[in-house]
Symmetry: C2
Subunit: 352 residues, 2 copies
DNA sequence: CCACTTAATGACAGCGCTATCAGAGAGCGT
DNA sequence: ACGCTCTCTGATAGCGCTGTCATTAAGTGG
């Protein structure tokens, strides 16, 4: 009778252990370990001998055993609560790309940020699996209780595009204010002076920054934003429709509308269509985010592309680079990494 | 000087071990282990005593140690190579939902199905981390070399919507032929007799099944499909535009067009718009997949919704349920699990 | 009351690695 | 030749659990 852990005939498809390699190479398992971890103080010929044996036996160090014995788990966690599928997969791709360079793996942990037991779930998770680092995306990265739980567990973490608590941890983000500023400059350079704005969800950090960049660009050109042309939205298509409807019901109407994100821009376009306003002949439209669906609506909307995958890569890089060097000292207090965005010009803006 | 593994003052935020619990409860660690794993043969009062101690110490079993000592890793892997973000996140959500019910975690492994070293990457991964199961999605689930590598590693796996090698492993899928059949029946019931069809990528299994369902429904109503109204597409928006253009250039034109997926349907709609054909007044359109962008184009397209999350849940369920019961015996040869799809009626089909 | 099963518990040996430290050589100045 | 450092290597003790098996306590039948 074979027990569940019986690996069968050694070498015949079964996994080989560090012992097998040590025996074949005629050295101790510690030396094999040294070679596998690229530690110094191994004679080149010894190293070769070990490597040859390892190759011959198709030896792969067991990650679980390494984790248990050592101080690393080779696992990094990505925590998120974001309904946007494209954002999530881009994040995952970026993190995994960097993680693989170092033999790390990714554990994904979608979390309901409204769950009452969110913190206990996270604490419990971190106690169960010792992650070498976690990456937090909005809105989780702005929840103090979450940060506290992760800090309490002593796990290094990096936040992506945080709004609150600057400096509390390493962060990666793009300069949203600057992006909105440049988008507004773009509209102005196309001859627009009367520009409307659809604000995003007030609880989302980016909303304020985007508005701020908009206003700054306007004022810089001696244009005063008109309150009746600034409408509140909530980042959803429907809120865009509503905001557009309200905006186009005003006595005078702007020649361009800058929506805080693409979905609202689509909503604005739909509301325009309904009252016979043509885009971009009558009104120019710009969005923000460059969602994949952008290519589905006509005209394609001019927008800002956030470097999501690059942000993710950078976040993982901070985690893994620190892993490499540091061994207990307080981190060298890395400043936020700011990544470049791109203004994508398409057909929704007309030159006046 | 603190070593990296120094956990600091016991109990003070530090993780507690099974030893701490055993000591506090006044039992052996083995008994604690039994309680934590819900094993039988523990007196209720003992169980309570242990549970109390565990709660008091915020004890969480270390997953890594459990994996190494035991026969389970509490990790399941999701392998995919699919550009569709919504599909992937739905899959992940479904798998995670089921996994969490059993304290399992998800490791995601995007793979490039065209990479020359795909197999060695997979073998190496499976040797490094002992996964308790893996879930394969198209196109990976149809690659014999991949199946072989996983079988060689002795890891149980479930395939989602496979096309080839039926019966080689447990599978979950929806009945694509039936869905296409019902969609066609729907068009016929709306009074359409002249129906065009845009085929999908010939290397994707679903393409053939969808076409088959289409033809079956037609023939059942004594309608012979007209070859000049069947165009080849490749599941992309652009291929839809092209197919639509070719279709509308025919001498006579169908009253409805069934596209093998939504993106191509959008393309067909765009090509119709360009030559002044109105949807659905002049031509009705149906899609397949219900991609999220479907709500962005007007009119909203009638389509088939694939139960992606439910498929993922079912796949994980097969893996985890087997885990529970079986201990080495050959699986009871579960037949494929067929999950129900939904026909979503929207505004792109007109009753004749 | 005794052999005889069954339930409840514990002792202990690993799982496959890493960390620590001791030891064996090699090189070198005095 | 001696101690001394420095480089390379191995013996050994865990990491925090689970699996196996032995052991004790409790029940059962004759």
């Amino acid at each position: 009778m074979r027990t569940p852990r019986d690996r069968g005939v050694p070498g015949a498809g079964g996994t080989s252990t560090i012992n097998d390699v040590a025996r074949l190479a005629g050295v101790s398992i510690k030396t094999v370990s040294r070679v596998m971890n690229n530690e110094p103080n191994v004679r080149p010929e010894t190293r070769d001998k070990v490597q040859e044996a390892a190759t011959l036996l198709h030896y792969r160090p067991n990650l679980l055993a390494r984790s248990l014995a050592g101080s690393r788990s080779f696992l990094i966690g990505l925590f998120y609560d974001n309904p946007n599928a494209a954002y999530i997969t881009d994040m995952q791709r970026g993190v995994i790309t960097r993680a693989r360079e170092q033999g790390y793996h990714l554990l994904i942990e979608p979390q309901d940020s409204h769950a009452p037991d969110l913190v206990s779930k996270i604490s419990s998770l971190l106690a169960t699996i010792r992650l070498d680092g976690v990456i937090l995306t909005p809105p989780l990265c702005d929840m103090a209780v979450v940060l506290h739980a992760i800090e309490a567990a002593g796990v290094p973490y990096v936040r992506v595009s945080p709004f609150l608590n600057p400096g509390r941890s390493p962060c990666v983000r793009m300069d949203e204010t600057q992006a909105a500023y440049e988008m507004t400059r773009h509209l102005i350079s196309m001859g627009h002076k009367d520009i409307g704005f659809i604000r995003g969800h007030p609880e989302h950090g980016g909303s304020h920054q985007r508005y701020e960049g908009f206003v700054r660009a306007l004022r810089e050109s001696q244009i005063e934003p008109r309150p009746e042309w600034v409408k509140q939205g909530y980042f959803s298509y429907e809120s865009g429709v509503e905001a557009g409807r309200a905006l186009f019901a005003e006595k005078t109407r702007p020649t361009a509308v800058f929506s805080s994100n693409d979905y609202m821009a689509f909503g604005v376009m739909a509301s325009a269509q309904q009252v016979g306003i043509r885009i971009p002949e009558d009104v120019s439209i710009t969005g923000f985010d460059d969602v994949p669906g952008a290519m589905l609506v006509w005209p394609h909307v001019t927008t800002i592309r956030q470097p999501v995958e690059a942000l993710a890569y950078a976040a993982a890089d901070i985690l893994l680079t620190r892993q490499e060097s540091e061994e207990g000292e307080p981190a060298p207090q890395a400043p936020d990494r700011l990544l470049p965005f791109a203004l994508i010009e398409r057909q929704s803006v007309r030159r006046l």
